[in-house]
């Protein structure tokens, strides 16, 4: 977990989300719906964004998990964190850890050139410099924000993709 090994003896029913919050005290990861609909519990497992509420902790044995607590390097924010601050990409903040981790992976996926549902031709390799807001919205659609901070969340992701050096 965030480059630290943890050894747990846990109930098989324990989800990764509850392991993080209730056992390890890493409460940055948030419980929203607890049924795979809202994305608030998004974490990165083995380099891929996943939902920790539908992941059994036992199934993560030996796997590398990154939570919001593991993103910054000391006081140096991750570029996506800095962009959310710069663009005011949140209001109450409850969905924000999930939004940020999801955005970190969305940016990596764009840099890898993979298509989304709204990519005109799936054979095409998408280009981060010209990625549209429609693409950003689709790629971030697994993270709901009840405050409706979506325009600024899109702006933050756009900033990371188009203009990361200004941060």
């Amino acid at each position: 977990m965030n480059d630290t090994d943890y050894e747990l003896s846990a109930d098989s029913r324990l989800t990764l989300l509850d392991a993080l919050r209730e056992v390890l005290g890493l409460t940055g990861t948030k419980k929203g719906c607890d049924q795979g609909a809202c994305g608030a519990c998004t974490v990165i497992v083995e380099g891929q964004r996943v939902l920790s509420c539908l992941t059994l902790a036992a199934a993560c044995d030996g796997q590398h998990v990154v939570t919001i607590e593991g993103l910054a390097r000391g006081d140096a924010l991750h570029p996506v964190q800095a962009a959310f601050l710069h663009c005011d990409g949140f209001q109450c903040g409850y969905c924000t850890p999930g939004q940020i981790l999801s955005a970190v992976c969305a940016v990596q996926e764009v840099h890898a050139g993979v298509p989304s549902h709204v990519t005109r031709d799936v054979r095409q390799t998408v280009n981060s410099a010209t990625l549209t807001d429609e693409e950003i919205r689709e790629r971030m659609s697994g993270n709901l924000c009840r405050c409706g901070a979506y325009p600024n969340i899109v702006a933050a992701v756009r900033q990371v993709l188009h203009d990361p050096l200004q941060l």
């Binding site: 029913r13 939902l51 036992a58 199934a59 999801s102």
Partner: protein, 329 residues
């Protein structure tokens, strides 16, 4: 969730054996269906066997076929460059379903085995022949706007939720399994899912402990001109109200061959073979596609809230074929 024992095996044969010897055991892959339904007590396995570490996570490409391991994730398959090139309909279908987080978790075999989103199936206090055989079906005269109009019976009208499976239905893959006695078999995809009939609880052509190891998608040059069109209540992260997977093989303006799969309106991933025969040799015009759509929905049976799906599905079919016709593969 009820208590269960969690097992992780190293070999496919061990995973199949342990499930076979426990009547209440289930395989766990991505967990997006199983853990979800365990939380609401719809599925209550006493043993859960993790099958993501059995060496079934590779995609192998040859000139004749693409072989996809059972534990390949939906994202892996949709993003694979050869899949995107040869079978755009499959990439498009997968990318239209759920979200990246869920597609990163969900596996190919798990997608095929996912359960219906019928709200009465997911509510243990409701009557559902699929969840509890013989208990009745609350959907028949309940809230059935999202329910099926093709392949329905008086016992169940639940819609099959998958997008990926609708694309697979037109690509004619074979499903390869390992049985607990060590033997293997291959099942044509078209015979894998069952319409409910009088036994809605029998959804798949698998026996207890039988493990999907991989699927083989044969090369289909015509599939370069293919398309998946999904119509739904929201632009993203929503199940289909109607969807169509099409493959169009054109000789100039004449249809040499066509394939049509339908989703969101049927109780299983639907293949409309009779439509395909009717299209062969005709000109690829919208009017011809409309005729095909009428044939595809000829046997549709609607309930109180889902009648709109019949016309919606017809229009979806016409637009899907027209889009494939106008593409430059």
């Amino acid at each position: 969730m009820i208590p269960f024992s969690f097992e992780r095996m190293a070999r496919p044969s061990d995973a199949a054996s342990i499930v076979a010897t426990h009547p209440g055991a289930m395989f766990l892959a991505g967990g997006t269906t199983l853990v979800d339904l365990m939380k609401v007590d719809v599925l209550t396995p006493d043993t859960v066997v993790d099958v993501r570490h059995l060496g079934l996570s590779s995609i192998d490409v040859s000139d004749q076929a693409i072989t996809v391991g059972a534990a390949v994730t939906n994202s892996q398959l949709a993003w694979h460059p050869v899949v995107r090139d040869r079978f755009p309909v499959l990439s498009e279908a997968i990318l239209s379903g759920a979200t990246t987080q869920i597609r990163n978790m969900a596996t190919v075999a798990g997608n095929m085995l996912q359960r219906t989103r019928c709200c009465y199936f997911r509510d243990v206090h409701a009557f559902c022949n699929r969840r509890k055989p013989g208990s009745g079906c609350d959907a028949l005269d309940g809230f059935n706007r999202s329910h099926a109009v093709l392949g329905v019976s008086e016992h169940c009208i639940a819609t099959h939720p998958s997008d990926m499976c609708v694309a697979l239905a037109v690509l004619d893959p074979t499903v390869h399994t390992l049985r607990p006695d060590g033997t293997t078999r291959s099942i044509p995809f078209r015979e894998f899912h069952a319409a409910p009939g009088a036994t809605p609880h029998v959804e798949m052509a698998l026996t207890h402990g039988e493990l999907i190891t991989h699927i083989v998608i044969p090369h289909l040059p015509a599939a370069r001109r293919s398309h998946y069109l999904k119509v739904r209540d929201r632009a993203s992260y929503e199940f289909a109200l109607a969807s169509a997977a099409v493959v169009l093989d054109l000789d100039g303006e004449t249809i040499r061959g066509a394939r049509l799969g339908l989703g969101g309106i049927a109780t299983k991933p639907w293949r409309a073979v009779e439509v395909e025969r009717s299209l062969t040799g005709r000109r690829a015009t919208d009017d011809v596609f409309r005729d095909a759509a009428e044939i595809a929905l000829a046997g549709a049976v609607a309930r109180k809230h889902n009648h709109f799906k019949i016309e919606l599905a017809k229009r979806t079919i016409v637009r899907a074929f027209a889009t494939a016709r106008n593409a430059n593969p």
